[in-house]
């Protein structure tokens, strides 16, 4: 929900959330053009203290491509 106020961010879910009904954590990929959006989102909530904790990883579009991240992790876009 918080990311809706930062429309330049893409938000993707990956990891154990797809394999478990009670995942130990939620892995979230943020794809950004301007890092200030990532900084703003991190400041909105104590993401790591959620239950389950949210682990945010932020990448530029070039990094997503170079690491082939979305295909490798089978991430699903949320926003």
């Amino acid at each position: 929900m918080a990311a809706r106020s930062l429309p330049s961010l893409q938000v993707w879910l990956f990891g154990s959330a797809f394999r478990s009904e009670e995942p130990a954590d939620l892995d979230i990929l943020l794809v950004y053009e301007n890092r200030s959006s990532v900084v703003a989102l991190r400041k909105m909530q104590p993401w790591e203290d959620f239950c389950p904790p949210c682990h945010l990883i932020a990448m530029t579009p070039l990094e997503v491509t170079e690491y082939d991240f979305i295909a490798t992790t089978e991430a699903v876009r949320l926003l």
Binding site: R35, V38, M59, T60, L62, E63, E66, Y67, F69
Partner: protein, 218 residues
Amino acid sequence: MNDVRGWIENKLQEQGYSSTRLPLSQLEIERASRPDARVLCIGLKNGETFDAENVDASIENVSGTGFVVVVPTRITHAAYERAEERGICVAGFGELLNALRQDENIAQHIDSQERYERSRLTHNKFVKSLKRKGHHAYEIQRDELRPLTIITTNDYEFTADQLYTLLESYQRTEPDLIVVTNPNCHGFSTDSQRATAQTGIPLVRFEDFLDDLGTKWT
């Protein structure tokens, strides 16, 4: 958090541990095959952090403190450094569970990333000694070469954002290098290399760092 000890008691129970309340926000945790473990429970309010002086105060105010569990885990790098100096462990609830499972004396607990990094570093012939400088940061004394301060990360895919996040987190530290210690990290993104070039702080893989400790960064 108002009743952090109650929260920790409940969470421990969910994991199969019984605990007894002791004075001064302490819990004595029963373990089947190891000595019972005593912890001091600290709950932080919004915006609070657990800093080096809080480590000192915990030790001075609560006799025999060996493990401080801090919820939420807003522990400063200076607090981790001070905890090592004072011979205690400061950690969040997740690391408390690991300590209960792994350590005879939970005051000596170190997390898996630090254990791996310390093991590799102390077995390097050019390393004389290590001092903790933060959650995952060390000052390395070397034979005949200047000491190095490094910040480590075990990210598999190291990113430009991760670099900036680390540097923002370690504002009081002046690192000589950022070292990526995940053995599965085989290279860095173009943007992370560009970012490190801008900051002037070299970014290296752990294997390369260990290979070059005796010859580089003089």
